[in-house]
């Protein structure tokens, strides 16, 4: 070994041991030494020799540092193989050092490190482990140490118990005694976790009853006892990440670790169970369940009586279950289960399972339950029932349910002893004539009996369902409860029917309705071999429930309950594949429910009809398919009624159906598969409808219907595969060719619609109703196309859409935008996207913006002459959508489009005094120019904002990442220079509008990055735009941007630089009269500004306070409240003068 590392590590040792070096230095030096050791540049032996002086000196501090260094190094070398001699001599050293209380910490660390070593890298031997344990027990006073060392001690103990069991076994009593001593009186949560685990391990070490643990079980438990129930309110901090639940669980494991604790544990828990603290009760019940299972039936036998009485107490008398007043009850009584109740029932279940017969007889023989069941007749009237009575009923119901669910034999017993009483109370009779519904039964039943009956039925069903083995199911069928139930089922059904009939006529208590519907549902969903009800009865049940859905929609509770029951039955039928029941279900429920879609019954609200159809439809694909076909049929029938016969009354209804189709049905199929076929057939179907109608005239109602149809069409198309989309597209084109007048004559490229119309002798503005429908639907198809879909005859289609958009048809514009966004760059050999776009822009759009600029070939158009007769602001809007499509895919042609907008905005033609908002513009041509330029400004909004209608990921648009930021970065300098150059006020106004749109739609990060340049322009925006009421929305969005800049750290710097100007503008906005949110936000901005460095804002303090004081008298309350807050913030700057 050469000398360099030697010198190095000596320095490191010195630095670690020295008390003058900082913590970071110490950590660095220990890391360095550990690295040397790991890479074998230094042997452990050499190191120890070198350190001899530190390890044996009489100076306590240096010695403890030295030992700690060795211990820590061993911790870091846990996975490095070490020789046996090295390990044994080190172990001997540390074992000996345990007696050195002045330098204990290092010894503990070293011991732990050596004890934790794994096989394969050199472990310590059993005898050494035993020696450690002996030295530990002899010399360490754990509880007198600090928290850190205590934790280490306990970790050593845990490690010994966990990994060196054989070595410790022979220590016997000494070990147990030592542990008792070590853990007594601990309070730190981390140490407690270890202690609980140690006790658990100790119990595993001495499992037999007559071991050393027996003598100390009492003492040991006394130590643990005081921690129950865990009450842990440790404040949250980073180093203690132990939760109450973890502690509680660890203690529970310790409690249940050995049956030797049983004589002390159970009385303690029973005692705590009777405490008035709810959390103590819950904990006791939890522990009881766990311990009972662990200790086993024999040991628990003697407690059953006292346990039952304690449980009964918890279940019956504790008023913890709260009565909820909601209209939607959890169970028939409307109780929310309390935590105590849940835990108690769980415990009851454990007990019933463990002591089957003996415990059951306790419950059966219980006086309270018997008396309660015998007292039914006293409480006949539901209204007179007290909450206390209901609570008791609730509890008894649950107790019996638990007994039934435990096993078949307990179920038998419960039925044999209790069912007859219920039968009496409900006046049931054994009926052999299955399926005959008696009508003459009085509907006034005893509620208690009814409730219990339903609870018992539900529990039986759960018993059957949970024992899913066929063999055991057959055994169950022969059981007595099954036979009892079987003989009464008809009679029970009659009771339920009777109740339902009564509730249809008059208003019955919801609790009755709930019980009746629930009862029917349970009877109908008993699995196969337990046909408690005959087929006839089953069908009767279905009929009844279905007819409720059809006719009782005014009784909300009944209706909802019936719907829920049907959903459950449907789920059941699908799950258990019972052919006979499925057949009945299909023939009765499916048909009727599905026919609700097409029913003409106008009494029942459409939303309820659809709710019923879908809730049941969601349970199975089969059902959903028939729903879809019915829906489709109805929609197309309605459409032909409307379109052909002009029946307008159906428009609203059909729109509802379409909405439901696109919002519910298609998404469901999208998730569950099969969306492609469904949507293909829907789309084709709609176009077929269009094909057959020739004359169409719809007015206001038509708009809504058209909107819904388009939405459904788009939704359907997004779900379609590429092939299906091509089919639909072809169909759409076919329909257009036969029906639309655009296709009927030769379409000449480059002609506009106006010329075409004159050719055909049409003079009206806009599209005819029929054309609008066809084109709109076609546009919807195009909007949702996938990029891979082949489009036939693309030139013609572009031409067509361009023409309709000039008529102001927005969907056409959106479709064009989608097309240029998605078309491949090379469409075919003789046709590229670039060429197509050129054609589109040159021939169709720019002609309408500026005529007489023939020299312009594909470049942006300069606004040389705006006074043209064919100016068309629709063209600008269309151009905006096309621009959006180009922008999103990042196409270079975007430049031409934006340059056109810019040149529209900056027209040198205006006189400089023509204010856009004065009404004196009489000249229609001037008005036209004005609206064109306005559209150009708004175009930036269209280009930048996200649209729901098209060009989003949902409609398969191509979206380049960060396209907004990119566009902003390109456009901003252009705008800045244009604004700087512009000397006409009108143009300026338009430029600011456009810029405001651009900025407010750009992600804030990008704006903040350029805040220095943007901020002055934004301030001018406020100044200029705030003069006109029509710009209030724009101002608001810019204000939002400003507040965004204000909350950003970099943005704040810019604001500080421009503080006087910003404050001046904001002061103006605090009294902006046209929009409340603007005033509010302006004041909020002031609030944020009060945090800026005082030196910068102090000079403006007086002005701001004056403005805010004025705002205190704002007509709107929200503004006033903001003003009060803001005023306080500003008044407290630099002085607490309250005279403001």
């Amino acid at each position: 070994m050469d000398g360099t590392p030697t010198i190095h590590y000596v320095i490191h040792i010195e630095s670690y041991v020295s008390s003058s070096s900082s913590e970071a230095q110490q950590a660095a030096s220990i890391d360095a030494i550990a690295l040397l050791l790991k890479n074998d540049l230094l042997s452990l032996e050499t190191l120890v020799r070198e350190m001899e002086m530190y390890l044996t000196t009489t100076d306590n501090i240096i010695r403890s540092r030295g030992i700690l260094l060795l211990g820590e190094l061993l911790m870091r070398l846990m996975s490095k193989p070490l020789g046996d001699t090295a390990i044994s001599s080190l172990m001997e050293f540390f074992t000996e050092r345990l007696a050195d209380w002045k330098a204990l910490h290092g010894a503990l660390v070293g011991c732990l490190a050596l004890l934790r070593r794994k096989t394969g890298v050199g472990m310590i031997s059993r005898s050494q482990a035993k020696a450690v344990a002996e030295s530990y027990l002899k010399t360490l006073q754990v509880q007198s140490l600090g928290q850190h060392d205590r934790k280490l001690c306990l970790q050593i103990l845990e490690c010994l118990l966990d990994r060196y069991r054989d070595a410790l076994f022979s220590l016997g009593d000494d070990l147990v005694y030592g542990i008792c001593e070590a853990i007594d009186g601990e309070k730190d949560p981390q140490c407690l976790m270890l202690i609980f685990h140690i006790v658990e391990l100790l119990a595993q070490l001495f499992p037999e009853a007559s071991g050393p643990l027996e003598n100390f079980a009492g003492d040991l438990f006394e130590i643990l006892e005081c921690y129950f129930p865990i009450h842990f309110t440790h404040p949250k901090s980073d180093d203690v990440d132990i939760k109450r639940e973890e502690l509680s669980r660890a203690l529970m494991l310790a409690f249940a670790s050995t049956p030797l604790f049983e004589p002390s544990v159970i009385p303690l828990l029973l005692d705590k169970l009777s405490s008035s603290l709810p959390s103590a009760k819950v904990e006791s019940l939890k522990y009881l369940s766990f311990c009972t299972l662990k200790y086993g039936g024999d040991r628990m036998e003697k407690y059953t009586k006292s346990l039952w009485s304690a449980l009964k107490d918890a279940l019956f008398t504790s008023p913890q279950s709260t009565l909820s007043e909601d209209s939607d009850p959890i169970d028939g009584l409307g109780f929310h289960e309390s935590e105590i109740m849940t835990q108690a029932l769980e415990f009851l279940q454990v007990l019933v399972r463990q002591h089957n017969a003996s415990f059951l007889s306790l419950i059966m023989g219980d006086g309270d339950i018997s008396t309660f069941l015998n007292s039914f007749s006293q409480f006949d009237n539901f209204n007179s029932l007290s909450t206390q009575y209901k609570q008791r009923l609730h509890a008894v119901g649950h107790v019996l349910s638990v007994c039934i669910k435990a096993s078949a034999s307990s179920c038998n017993k419960v039925f044999e002893s209790f069912f007859p009483r219920l039968v009496d109370a409900l006046r049931l009779s054994v009926d052999n004539s299955h399926g005959i519904v008696h009508s003459a039964v009085d509907a006034n039943f005893n509620f208690g009996a009814l409730y219990l009956c339903v609870e018992l039925l539900a529990a039986c069903r759960q018993l059957v369902v949970s024992s899913d083995e066929v063999a055991s199911a057959h055994d169950l069928a022969r059981d007595s409860w099954c036979q009892i139930l079987h003989s009464f089922s008809t009679s029970l059904c009659n009771v339920f029917f009777c109740l339902i009939r009564a509730s249809c006529v008059e208003s019955t208590r919801n609790a009755y309705v709930y019980a009746a519907v629930k009862g029917l549902e349970i009877l109908a969903t008993f699995p196969g071999s337990f046909i408690s009800v005959s087929k006839l009865m089953y069908e009767n049940i279905l009929l009844t429930l279905t007819s409720i859905i059809e006719s009782e929609f005014n009784k909300k509770f009944l209706w909802k309950a019936a719907l829920k029951a049907l959903v459950e039955i449907s789920l059941f039928v699908n799950k258990y594949h019972e052919d006979e029941k499925a057949a009945s279900f299909n023939s009765i429920v499916k048909q009727k429910i599905v026919s609700l879609i097409s029913s003409d019954d106008l009494n029942m609200p459409q939303s309820l009809k659809l709710e019923a159809v879908f809730d049941i439809g969601l349970t199975g694909k089969n059902f959903m398919l028939s729903v879809v076909s019915e829906l489709e049929k109805t929609i197309s029938a309605n459409l032909s009624e409307i379109l052909v016969h002009g029946d307008r009354r159906l428009a609203g209804l059909t729109a509802g159906l379409l909405e439901c189709y696109s919002n519910k049905v298609l998404p469901w199929f999208h998730v569950n598969g099969g969306a492609d076929e469904v949507s293909l057939s829907f789309a084709v179907n709609i176009f077929t409808k269009m094909e057959h109608n020739t004359s169409l005239s719809l007015e206001a109602e038509g708009k809504e219907l058209l909107g819904a149809t388009m939405a459904a069409m788009k939704q359907a198309m997004t779900c379609c595969s590429v092939e299906s989309q091509e089919k639909v597209l072809q169909k759409a084109i076919d329909v257009m060719e036969t029906n639309s007048f655009f296709f009927s004559n030769n379409l000449i490229l480059g002609t506009d619609l106006f010329n075409k119309k004159t050719q055909l002798g049409q003079t009206s503005e806009g599209l005819s109703c029929q054309d609008e429908w066809i084109i709109s639907l076609f546009a919807s198809v195009v909007i949702a196309l996938r990029p891979q879909t082949q489009i036939p005859n693309i030139r013609l289609l572009l031409q067509l859409l361009a023409m309709t958009l000039l008529e102001g048809h927005i969907p056409s514009a959106q479709a064009l935008g989608s097309l240029v966004n998605k078309l491949p760059l090379n469409i075919s050999e003789d046709c590229s996207l670039k060429e197509l776009i050129d054609m589109l822009l040159k021939n169709v759009l720019w002609r309408n913006i500026s005529i007489g600029k023939e020299g312009n070939h594909g470049d942006a158009v300069a606004m040389s002459n705006l006074r043209s007769s064919s100016l068309n602001s629709h063209a600008v809007i269309g151009l905006a959508w096309i621009g959006k499509g180009l922008l999103m895919r990042g196409h270079e042609k975007l430049k031409d489009v934006t340059m056109t907008f810019l040149s529209c905005l900056v027209s040198n033609e205006d006189q400089g005094n023509l204010l856009p908002f004065n009404d004196q513009m009489k000249d229609p041509a001037e008005l036209k120019v004005f609206s064109l330029r306005k559209s150009a400004a708004d175009a930036f909004h269209i280009v930048m904002s996200d649209s729901d209608a098209c060009l989003n990921r949902n409609y398969h648009a191509i979206v380049r990442p960060l396209y907004k930021q990119r566009f902003f970065n390109i456009m901003m300098p252009m705008f800045l220079s244009a604004i700087a150059k512009c000397d006409s006020s009108t143009s300026r106004c338009f430029l600011y509008q456009a810029f405001a749109h651009l900025v407010s739609e750009t992600p804030l990060v990008a704006v903040v990055g350029d805040a220095k340049k943007v901020l002055p322009v934004l301030m001018d925006c406020f100044l200029i735009l705030s003069k006109d009421i029509s710009h209030k929305e724009i101002i608001y969005s810019v204000l939002i941007v400003l507040s965004g800049i204000l909350t950003d750290k970099n943005g704040q710097e810019t604001i500080i630089e421009n503080a006087p100007m910003v404050i001046r503008r904001l002061i103006e906005l605090t009294s902006y009269p046209y929009m409340m949110v603007i005033r509010e936000t302006a004041i909020q901005c002031f609030g944020a500004m009060s945090e800026l460095p005082h030196a910068r804002i102090y000079p403006m303090r007086t002005q701001v306070l004056q403005a805010i004081t004025k705002a205190l008298d704002d007509p709107k309350r929200v503004v006033r409240l903001e003003a009060v807050k803001c005023r306080l913030a500003w008044a407290s700057i630099a002085s607490r003068s309250i005279h403001f």
């Binding site: 008298d1113 309350r1117 309250i1138």
Partner: protein
């Protein structure tokens, strides 16, 4: 400062639920919403009692009903009830109320602060002191008093 609390063990009442003013969507942009009782109450309910960590609302020193307001005539009167009759804190509470309203209301308002009749031993004196402009101004020149007032007004509910 007083070494002993004047009312060592006051009754603490439950806070009234904060009434929601309904949806924030403004139906009519130009409709005026005049200042009303609840708005004034919202301003002063969270003022801290000078000697207890409770708000004036919790101690029922002020209630919503004890506020009279006439927005047209720009007049508001707050009547407060000290917890005990001989409460020497009554003037401080009154001062807090006045300062808070001064800071929160438009300058057109005239604010009148009164002790509820029969609830205080030196009722007239306190009323006179609280509504004397010059004495209020003088009180606010006293740094100790201003500190005390500011502590009570420190927004406890963010």
């Amino acid at each position: 400062m007083v070494s002993e609390l004047i009312n060592a063990n006051p009754v603490v009442y439950k806070k009234k639920e904060r009434r929601d003013r309904g949806a924030r969507t403004v139906l009519d942009e130009y409709a005026a919403e005049p200042i009303d009782q609840l708005e004034i109450f919202d301003h002063i309910r969270d003022i801290k009692d000078p000697e207890h960590p409770y708000s004036l609302e919790e101690l029922k020193v002020i209630t919503e009903d004890a506020i009279d307001i006439d927005d047209q005539r720009s007049y508001v009167r707050v009547t407060f009830t000290p917890t005990v009759e001989h409460c020497s804190m009554a003037t401080v509470i009154g001062l807090c109320l006045r300062v808070k309203l001064m800071r929160s209301l438009p300058s057109r308002y005239k604010v009148d602060i009164r002790v509820a009749p029969g609830s205080h031993a030196t009722e007239t004196a306190v009323n006179k002191q609280l509504n004397d402009k010059e004495r209020v101004a003088a009180a606010l020149e006293n740094p100790n008093l201003v500190d005390m007032v500011d502590e009570c007004l420190a927004p406890s509910y963010a």
